[in-house]
């Protein structure tokens, strides 16, 4: 009875929310048209009320998960009685309807913050911004009310199907909300951008006001991408972290265009240039955020992330078309208001380097888009289906990535307006020498292999053998990456050193104090440099772990050793387990130094099977074995072995749906700087099969050099991004000055 009431409240809250959101759009547009402050206030209140209703609906669905209300179709599909509590809550975004609900919940909270923080400012921009955000909320609520309702109920069921086992990982619980914060966060800069175009207030207010929103969205999207990569690394067991799946690509594309936007607004702030480009970038970034969902839900591109091809695909297509083409038409109609106030003064200038940086970032996004959608074009043009796997993405993106890395170093040091010869020499000679030294060192260390590759590359070019040419060029990628990375690190170090030197000379501060104050008083600038360092570390991690990965596959009996690279692994033993919602075998391997035999650590790795509890016999046996007590007792081990036998028996009758396999990867990371040759290296162990009777196991082992630079770079990125958005007196002064001018011009108008 209580559950019925909760579901009804959730259902009606979504419907009333839809009415509220629709009113917010109508009232904001009317308010904008007749300059009615009362109507705008009504629109803002409607946004607040809608947000409250969406929160109530979300609470009702979470309550359904917590109460194991399997009459709710959504709860039935993504939860089960044995699902641990955190995953019951996380199952909210395990499927389509819940993901949409989380998306609109985040958007509505952001809309409230937007309304709250703009009560006394941006009154000219707010009506249209409110209308755009309100329209986006309305779109999602239409989906949730009419196409993908989360409160559909059916007959009572004793248990649910449960969340996909691979999603039962804490990082996976954080990864989707992080991405949604990113996708949704770009709605606010987009709304203000559209408002600026409509109202012809195309100065710098709209992006200065939304700078924190942009950095916030960009930060969470970037973090979400990295968390997804980390999850793939520790969960999927193929030794890598990025598979270029369409949904992964869909998260990368808006991040790339968002990064371009963050850089190019600096030119508009300082020079009043690139106004059209900045408006276009914010439109592109928001459209790409929507595009990913359309791409995978419409079924035009298959993806491991698509919960299923569903009816929301066409709806997203229509919404995307309206957003993108509508915004472009608006942009074209406002070209007169978007004229630059300045022109470039030299090709060798920071402005130009930012233009090239934008070219590379948008070019990378376009490349990813082309490759992701290429199967569709291929089928249209030739009638043949093709697969776009990781190799082509990796090979084709390398030139873009290397150029981008070079520009990360050049951009911050080259002078504004026009770089003089002295500026170029002063800024780039030392970092350039460092880069050349690193490059030569790496090439000489492996000269024979590089010479062979160079010969093969020239031969492939002469034969017009495109694939081999790309493959051979890839050989040079790590060396060039390390050289360019060293170049960037040197430029950043020079920037810090120059700033510190000036402070030490002018204020007689100690070096550490000068460094602290330098960063604290220029948070945006130095936060940006720290982000650049993070990017370099990520490049190092990707280059080294991709190029120098070592792999071995070997079947071992308990007690047997395995030598991989300069490690010796010993398979110490295994035990059978039945916990939570799985049973399986847990293998223990000790990791030793291959030369000295010194023990470095231990890795635990598991092969799990998640029984389908819809089979009553399997459910009862599983519950019985779990109740037998601690793992290790003969009775318990025999019980788990019995589960293996039962599953094999049932599979003969019912097929593979009896169980879902998953693995827990075992990783030994070398994070001590004392072991310099192994620093940041992982020994990564995954069982392909473990025989429950004898313990004989087939292991796949990878040695991934420097892979932890990737995660370390992510942490540095987080630190830099946080620093860049901390309150800054200089930024505040600039914003206040711009706002005062804007408010005066509104008053005059």
């Amino acid at each position: 009875m209580l559950r019925d009431l909760t579901n009804a409240i959730g259902h009606w809250a979504l419907f009333l929310g839809l009415l509220g959101a629709a009113w917010s759009v109508v009232a904001a547009l009317l308010g904008a048209r007749i300059h009615g402050r009362g109507l705008q206030r009504s629109a803002e209140r409607a946004v607040l009320a809608t947000s409250g209703l969406i929160a109530v609906a979300t609470g009702c669905l979470v309550a359904g998960f917590l109460a194991d209300d399997f009459r709710l179709d959504y709860v039935y599909h993504y939860s089960s009685t044995s699902q641990p509590l955190p995953y019951k809550i996380g199952a909210l975004w395990g499927g389509q309807a819940g993901s949409l609900l989380l998306w609109v919940l985040i958007l509505s909270v952001m809309a409230c913050v937007m309304v709250g923080t703009n009560q006394r400012k941006n009154r000219a921009l707010m009506p249209w911004a409110t209308a755009v955000v309100g329209a986006t909320i309305t779109f999602f609520l239409v989906l949730l009310n009419f196409i993908e309702p989360p409160f559909l109920t059916s007959v009572a069921r004793p248990d649910g199907v449960g969340l996909n086992p691979q999603l039962k990982n804490y990082w996976m619980m954080i990864h989707p909300p992080c991405l949604y914060l990113g996708y949704v966060g770009f709605t606010i800069p987009f709304a203000f951008g559209i408002s600026a175009l409509v109202t012809r207030r195309t100065g710098d207010i709209w992006f200065r006001t939304t700078r924190r929103w942009t950095v916030f969205a960009w930060f969470f999207l970037g973090t979400g991408v990295l968390l997804g990569a980390y999850w793939a690394y520790i969960e999927l067991g193929w030794g890598g972290y990025w598979a270029w799946d369409p949904v992964e690509n869909a998260s990368l594309m808006p991040w790339l265009t968002g990064t371009a936007f963050l850089h190019s607004v600096m030119i508009q702030e300082r020079k009043g240039m690139l106004k059209v480009w900045n408006a276009l970038l914010v439109i592109l970034t928001f459209s790409l955020s929507i595009f990913g969902t359309f791409l995978t839900r419409s079924g035009i591109i298959s993806s491991v992330h698509s919960f299923a091809t569903s009816d929301i695909g066409p709806a997203f297509g229509v919404f995307l078309a309206l957003v993108f083409f509508g915004s472009l038409v608006l942009l074209v109609s406002r070209l007169d208001n978007l004229r630059s106030e300045h022109r470039l003064e030299s090709v060798l200038s920071r402005e130009s380097s930012f233009l090239f940086n934008n070219l590379i970032l948008v070019g990378m996004a376009a490349t990813v888009l082309l490759l992701t959608t290429f199967p569709m074009f291929s089928e249209l043009a030739t009638g043949r289906k093709v697969t776009m796997g990781p190799p082509i993405f990796n090979l084709v993106n390398i030139p873009w990535a290397l150029l981008l890395l070079a520009l990360v170093g050049i951009g911050p040091l080259i002078a504004w307006r026009k770089a003089s010869r002295e500026n170029l020499l002063r800024s780039f000679v030392a970092p350039g020498l460092v880069a050349v030294w690193v490059l030569l060192l790496l090439l000489i260390l492996d000269a024979r292999a590089y010479l062979a590759s160079a010969g093969a590359l020239l031969g492939a070019l002469a034969r017009l053998d495109v694939y081999t040419a790309f493959q051979q060029f890839k050989t040079f990628y790590p060396a060039i990456t390390f050289a360019l990375g060293a170049f960037v690190l040197a430029t950043v170090a020079i920037e810090f050193w120059r700033g510190v030197r000036v402070r030490v000379a002018n204020y007689s501060e100690s070096v550490m104090l000068a460094l602290g104050r330098l960063v604290w008083r220029n948070k945006r600038r130095y936060g940006g440099y720290i982000v650049h360092v993070g990017v370099v570390l990520v490049f190092f991690g990707v280059a080294a772990s991709g190029a120098y990965q070592i792999e071995a596959v070997r079947e071992l009996a308990p007690g047997e050793p395995l030598i991989v690279d300069d490690y010796l692994l010993r398979y110490d033993g295994y035990r059978l387990v039945a916990e939570d919602d799985y049973f399986g075998a847990e293998a223990t391997l000790s990791v030793h130094d291959g030369a000295s035999g010194e023990r470095l650590g231990t890795v635990l790795t598991e092969q799990r099977y998640h029984p389908n509890l819809m089979f009553p016999e399997l459910r009862e046996t599983f519950q019985h074995v779990k109740a037998l007590g601690e793992a290790g007792s003969p009775q318990y081990a025999e019980g788990v072995a019995g589960l293996y036998r039962l599953v094999t028996l049932l599979e003969r009758q019912a097929g593979r749906e009896v169980k879902t396999p998953s693995t827990e990867v075992g990783i030994h990371s070398s994070l001590s700087p004392l072991a310099a040759s192994r620093f940041a290296e992982d020994v990564y162990v995954m069982p392909l099969a473990i025989d429950p009777a004898t313990g004989r196991a087939n292991f796949r082992v990878f040695v991934n050099p420097m892979v932890n630079f990737l995660w370390l770079g992510g942490l540095v990125f987080v630190l830099g991004a946080h620093l860049a958005v901390l309150p800054d007196a200089r930024e505040r002064r600039r914003l206040d000055a711009a706002m005062a001018l804007e408010e005066r011009s509104v008053a005059v108008a």
Binding site: D245, E269, P399, D565, S745
Partner: protein
């Protein structure tokens, strides 16, 4: 394909290399042929688009066994790939071959990069040669001031800000 390796001078690696030398050359050839096929053929499990070599799923293990069996029967890696393509179509390759329409995917981005960079250089040079607005010549009279002009004030504010 030769590729640079880590050179750390490791005794364990030397031992392994010495062991490898006594393995019959035919087995090494088989391993190379298997590697070529397993890294080229797509695992048809429907998970991430991964090669049979890389994919960690149970179906990939089955496909690896199938490929190994064909190699042991005397087929070359290319022959195994060709037989899979004949059975399943071009989409069974993890990456499209670099010819025909597929060159759009292989070379399109690089061509785009070169074209866009070239175009950008030309545009920037043209901008540089034709200064914007009525900029006075060096030493010439300044244009008349229009203190009420919003755009002028905005520009002034920005330039003052730049000097701070």
């Amino acid at each position: 394909m030769p590729s640079p390796s880590r050179s750390r001078g490791r005794p364990a690696a030397l031992v392994l290399a010495a062991l490898l030398l006594v393995v019959p050359a035919a087995a090494a050839d088989d391993a190379a042929e298997y590697d070529l096929a397993a890294r080229t053929i797509l695992c048809d499990c429907g998970c991430h688009p991964q090669s049979v070599h890389d994919c960690a799923c149970a179906r990939a293990a089955e496909m690896r066994d199938e490929i190994r069996a064909r190699i042991e029967q005397g087929q070359s890696g290319e022959q195994v790939i060709a037989s899979y393509v004949a059975e399943h179509g071009e989409a069974i390759r993890i990456t499209p071959v670099a010819r025909g329409f597929n060159l759009v995917a292989w070379l399109g981005p690089l061509a785009g990069l070169l074209a866009a960079a070239g175009a950008l250089v030309l545009v920037v040079r043209r901008w540089v040669r034709t200064p914007h607005g009525a900029r006075p010549a060096a030493g010439g009279p300044a244009p008349p001031l229009a203190p009420d002009d919003g755009a002028y004030r905005e520009r002034l504010r920005r330039e003052v800000e730049e000097l701070r």
